[in-house]
């Protein structure tokens, strides 16, 4: 298994332990009305009352005031809602929030270390890797995952493995430049390619 290092999150080991120790209460039928759902988001335990049909995206934005995760298409076609669940990039619009109990959710708000930006966030600023900015949180979470996965070898590979994040402003060349900059240790990197 690939191990992931995430700021503000407990170690992989601890949430694997959470997952493998099912709470017997979870086997009971819950809903269709509002039920208490406990989520672990950016290292914090958050509780909210939602119906089981509520997506992770809507729970984050409308209930937990974490509006960094964006709603684009709401049907799994654009990638604006990309978050990490148990360290893997997924689409929050096609994930029901209640299925994330016992899993660790990381959003764009959990990426920085206080006021210190994650290197990928800084690289997006330095490389001018966005215009309107709406797709940017999803792009950044995908980009960090891309490096962790080892799929940023060259521009062709970056293009293919970032294809799940659409940018209608077409900032793609600068997004690739930002990814190269972090991949190569923060220096250099032409803005265009």
């Amino acid at each position: 298994m690939v191990s992931f290092v995430m700021r503000g999150c407990e170690s992989v080991k601890s949430y694997e332990a959470l997952r493998t120790a099912p709470n017997p209460d979870h086997a009971v039928v819950r809903g269709p009305g509002e039920v208490e759902v406990r989520l672990q988001v950016n290292g914090e335990s958050r509780t909210t009352n939602i119906e089981p049909r509520v997506s992770l995206l809507d729970a984050l934005r409308d209930r937990l005031d974490l509006t960094g995760t964006k709603k684009g298409c709401n049907q799994g076609a654009c990638g604006a809602c990309t978050v990490w669940v148990d360290g893997r990039r997924v689409l929050a619009c096609l994930t029901l929030a209640i299925t994330c109990e016992n899993r660790e959710v990381t959003t764009i708000e959990g990426l920085s270390d206080g006021d210190t930006l994650h290197p990928m966030q800084q690289a997006f600023l330095d490389c001018d890797a966005f215009q309107c900015g709406y797709c940017t949180p999803g792009q950044i979470l995908s980009a960090v995952a891309l490096l962790t996965e080892g799929h940023a070898g060259d521009d062709t590979e970056i293009r293919e493995w970032m294809s799940g994040n659409i940018c209608r402003c077409a900032a793609y060349p600068h997004i690739r430049a930002a990814i190269r900059r972090v991949r190569d240790g923060g220096g250099g990197g032409d803005a265009a390619s």
Binding site: P22, P32, P52, R53, G76, G79, L94, A145, S163
Partner: protein, 331 residues
């Protein structure tokens, strides 16, 4: 989305029992097709049984030398399983050419086989669709049907089966393992996907509550030399207009073994048996490949906008076979 109740299952028996006891219950795994269809009211169960905690997510060796892909294994994990990549490269390629990295992290192997069609009329609850509402008609027959099938169609449905993975699996004679209210059974993949015929609403032989626990890949040395080639409107994150899974062995310039299947052009993942018959024992030349492609597409029927797919499928077959047999020349 209609309101739903929710529970988690931690063992297969409980999951199967819960769904089979209630016609309005359904399994929830990766959700990448299902949540979308729930949201647009195409599917309307009242209870979801979350099966993501079931221990069915491994890729395992089988005693006969094959591999078992767990029903809940994620597309991304299976695509990187070293033994799969070594022994069945076309399966790994079919997975990596499908969807996006995020969706591949979510979507399961079983869900991939069971994904619903992408026909716009199936997804539009205002349109006639025999698959969604049996007997209501088919808006695609004289509608926007550029993406629709040219093989295996009927007067009731021409929707294309969208899976890439399933194309590689039918070429390999994979076996679907299930656990249902009547116990466990093994279903040859040829029997798993049904042609629309008079009953397009019936896509597979599973009983309500029957769970796909795994997919067995039989040993197939020829599959070590295999590829999945996908032609589409854009180079990534798009469904196939035409695709080919091919495994081939050539000895002394003659084809000694070949497995060929087509995606993007048929109502089910399409084993190209007519082409295989033409190719078996034939010289590995473009002439043979062209003849085989013509034989396979001979029964094709178009419905207007998708007429180009017949020629596209022929050319994709020829290209795939050329690439597999003339790689040394090309290099």
């Amino acid at each position: 989305m209609r309101p739903v109740s929710y529970s988690r299952a931690f063992d297969v028996g409980t999951a199967v029992g819960a769904v089979s006891a209630d016609p309005e219950s359904t399994f929830l795994a990766g959700g990448t097709t299902q949540i979308d269809l729930l949201r647009i009211y195409v599917e309307q169960p009242r209870r979801l049984i979350d099966i993501n905690d079931l221990p069915l997510n491994r890729v395992e060796e089988l005693p006969d030398g094959g591999l078992r892909l767990g029903g809940l294994a994620r597309m991304s994990d299976v695509a990187e399983a070293p033994e799969l990549v070594r022994r069945y490269p076309m399966v790994a390629e079919s997975l990596l050419l499908g969807a996006s990295p995020q969706l591949r992290n979510m979507a399961t192997i079983a869900g991939n086989l069971l994904q619903r069609v992408r026909c716009g009329y199936f997804r539009d609850t205002e349109a006639a669709c025999n698959k969604r509402v049996p007997g209501s008609g088919c808006s695609a027959l004289d509608g926007i049907n550029r993406g629709h099938a040219v093989l295996g169609t009927s007067d009731n449905c021409i929707a294309t089966h969208p899976s890439d993975l399933a194309v590689a699996l039918v070429a390999l004679d994979a076996v679907v393992q299930t656990e249902g209210p009547g116990g466990a059974r093994s279903i040859p993949i040829d029997d798993f996907f049904l042609l629309p015929g008079q009953t397009p609403e019936r896509e597979h032989p599973l009983a309500h509550g029957e769970l796909v626990t795994g997919i067995d890949l039989p040993p197939a040395p020829v599959a070590a030399t295999s590829r999945y080639i996908k032609i589409r409107d854009r180079e990534s994150y798009e469904f196939a207009l035409a695709s080919v899974a091919v495994a081939i062995a050539v000895d002394g310039g003659r084809i000694t073994e070949v497995r060929l299947a087509l995606g993007g052009v048929a109502t089910k993942p399409w084993r190209a048996r007519a082409a295989e018959r033409e190719l078996d024992g034939a010289p590995a030349t473009t002439e043979s490949f062209t003849r085989a492609a013509a034989a396979e597409l001979a029964p094709a029927v178009s419905h207007g906008m998708n007429a180009f797919k017949i020629e596209l499928a022929r050319r994709t077959i020829v290209r795939a076979l050329e690439q597999m047999t003339q790689r040394e020349v090309a290099a």
